[in-house]
């Protein structure tokens, strides 16, 4: 049981760091509150949907920004969607970076948009990594026979 305790402590520390470092905001906790015995995988399901959705959006954005003549309205539309979905799961840094990218789109600033897009991708892959780690820790706790601590 010492092992479970260790895992649980790791989980709590890691969760706190995600909030403290701004990767996640209150909305993620809102989602956690919606999870219960009748829907034990709710957060995982929503986040998985987010990952799927995001890959498509990032791909579309990449293509749109590589066009000879960039259609900033289209780019903005994709960024708006990405901002929305990242906000819905509480991926704060991704959302904030999307806001910046939208400003560049509004100005029709291609250089700025391309640079900012790289940052959006960077933030996305960071939070994806963090969330996957979080879910892995949860699984390990459950497999070791423990319960996942609720982070207030």
């Amino acid at each position: 049981m010492e092992f479970v305790g260790q895992l649980q402590r790791q989980f709590v520390q890691f969760s706190h760091s995600l909030f403290d470092e701004g990767f996640l905001d209150d909305q993620f906790q809102q989602l956690q509150k919606l999870q219960d015995e009748s829907n034990p995988d709710f957060v995982l399901e929503v986040v998985s949907l987010f990952f799927e959705d995001s890959e498509k959006l990032l791909n579309n954005l990449s293509i749109a920004l590589q066009q000879q003549i960039v259609d900033f309205k289209q780019v903005d539309s994709y960024v708006h969607q990405f901002k929305g979905s990242s906000s819905s799961i509480g991926a704060q840094r991704v959302k904030n970076m999307c806001v910046h990218l939208r400003s560049f789109c509004e100005e029709q600033n291609l250089e700025g948009s391309l640079m900012c897009f790289q940052q959006v991708k960077h933030e996305y892959y960071l939070v994806k990594n963090k969330l996957e780690t979080l879910f892995r820790l949860e699984r390990q706790i459950i497999e070791a026979g423990g319960t996942v601590p609720f982070i207030a």
Binding site: L34, N39, F42, V46, D53, K83, S87, S88, G90
Partner: protein, 182 residues
């Protein structure tokens, strides 16, 4: 006898649809979630191209829709619903990630019950459901639309002009509620 509170949720985002569905279910609402305004019109029986016999028309107590959707926006959907004799009494709530006052005003003027800024919280949904249920149980004596608008125009502490006591009707106004500014 408590009837099931049935909500039609309209949102083109997979993620948001899943979240709103869960929020509504946790709040003891029955949910039908669709991905477009066009589809919403179909299930409500307002689609001119399809004969109403093809679908079992849904009876809904509330429609909650995203504003920004391709092809037909939530605002256009709101107009269609309010313009329909059959469905105009159904409360419609707009959700949007964009907090733009002229847009808020436009939606409220067109008859939206409320404009919620995304991400929508559980407290928003519970408050909505309770407010609508209370409205149904204690319909205001005055003309429906003017009471709604008046309530929205004035500060929370202003007197309500309906003849019934308003304290139980007026939920605490959270940060997200958007008021029409005079």
């Amino acid at each position: 006898m408590a009837q099931e509170f049935h909500v039609l949720a309209v949102d083109d985002s997979f993620v948001d649809r899943k979240v709103i569905e869960r929020l509504l279910k946790v709040s003891s609402c029955k949910v039908t979630a669709v991905e477009s305004a066009g589809r919403a019109l179909q299930v409500l029986g307002l689609d001119e191209e399809r004969s109403p016999v093809e679908f079992d028309e849904l009876k809904v107590n509330l429609i909650i829709t995203d504003y920004s959707m391709p092809e037909m926006t939530g605002y256009d959907l709101l107009k269609r619903i309010k313009g329909s004799k059959k469905l105009s009494e159904i409360p419609v709530v707009i959700m949007s990630s964009e907090d733009i006052q002229p847009r808020v005003n436009r939606c409220l003027e067109e008859g939206a019950e409320e404009y919620l800024v995304k991400p929508v919280k559980l407290s928003d949904v519970v408050r909505l459901r309770d407010f609508i249920l209370t409205q149904k149980a204690h319909p205001p004596q005055m003309e429906h639309n003017s009471v709604k608008r008046k309530w929205r125009d004035e500060s929370p502490n202003a007197g309500c002009s309906a003849s019934t006591s308003c304290d139980h009707l007026r939920p605490p106004i959270p940060k997200r509620r958007k008021m029409v500014q005079l």
